[in-house]
């Protein structure tokens, strides 16, 4: 049986879906520096990301089921939207250096430490590559959501979206 792709079948947006939504930055923009990837592919009633952006780079408007639209020139990749998204669907990537940087939300215990080499996983939870933890940000205003930044080889900028949960024995 061939697996149908797309968010309603696989539980995460396909490459094709991601290429058509208004929350994703262009290749050129990614190469210039940190920028948000709003991987929100369904029209659900939700808009906290809009207010979370201090630069006005995210627009939902009315109705609030509109897909969030990214203004990639206004976005500086600060990452404040990552913890504000109730769906944990926003990531920040940086393709301007030798290695790619990917920031993602993380709400499990325990947290890794800065400098740790972690198992970095894709949207399906598959191990992709080892990556170094550059930053862990968890200010009170994020309300318990940590934002972790890992450094991975450039070819994995678009695939790595999280790390494996720590302290789990392999199943």
């Amino acid at each position: 049986m061939t697996q149908k792709t797309g968010v309603i079948y696989q539980g995460f947006p396909s490459e094709d879906e991601l290429s058509r939504i208004p929350g994703m930055p262009s290749e050129e923009r990614i190469k210039k520096g940190s920028v948000a990837c709003i991987e929100c592919a369904q029209e659900i009633p939700c808009n906290p990301c809009e207010e979370a952006c201090p630069y006005g780079a995210i627009t939902v408007g009315k109705p609030i089921t509109n897909l969030p639209k990214l203004d990639q020139d206004k976005c500086i990749g600060c990452g404040l939207c990552i913890a504000a998204c109730p769906g944990l669907a926003i990531f920040v990537v940086n393709g301007s250096k030798e290695k790619a940087e990917v920031s993602f939300p993380f709400e499990y215990y325990p947290l890794p430490n800065k400098g740790d080499e972690m198992d970095c996983v894709d949207r399906e939870g598959n191990m992709v590559v080892k990556g170094k933890v550059l930053r862990i940000v968890k200010p009170p205003k994020y309300d318990a959501t940590a934002v972790i930044t890992v450094e991975v080889p450039m070819e994995h900028l678009k695939t790595v979206r999280s790390i494996k949960r720590l302290g789990r024995s392999d199943r």
């Binding site: 709400e107 499990y108 215990y109 318990a144």
Partner: protein, 105 residues
């Protein structure tokens, strides 16, 4: 198993301030928590045996509707353990069928 630290809820701060006796065995519990939670934390999943076919039952709805989790508590049968709070010194026993009144010793 207790969830002692949690990424959202933080660390458990309540005290284990009650002891309940379940089928003769002492279990540490927290005053006011549902009996069912205290049993689950001690790894007890079977709360009773059914009347007709003597089948095991445990927690199912946890909101006091399904009556699957009933046990004999301080000599009273058919107590819904998911909505009955723990008090120190409670004597609880696995209920067989419709249960019997009185504390079995």
């Amino acid at each position: 198993m207790r969830v002692l630290n949690h990424p959202i809820l933080g660390d458990e701060t309540r005290q284990f301030n009650a002891t309940i006796i379940v089928d003769g065995k002492q279990i540490q519990a927290i005053e006011g928590e549902p009996i069912a939670a205290a049993l689950l934390s001690a790894g007890i999943k079977k709360f009773r045996e059914t009347q007709k076919n003597h089948k095991p039952r445990g927690i199912f709805c946890a909101i006091g509707r399904c009556t699957d989790c009933v046990m004999t508590v301080d000599g009273v049968p058919n107590v819904r353990t998911c909505i009955t709070p723990v008090r120190d010194g409670m004597i609880i026993s696995t209920q067989k069928g419709l249960g019997k009144w009185g504390i079995e010793r």
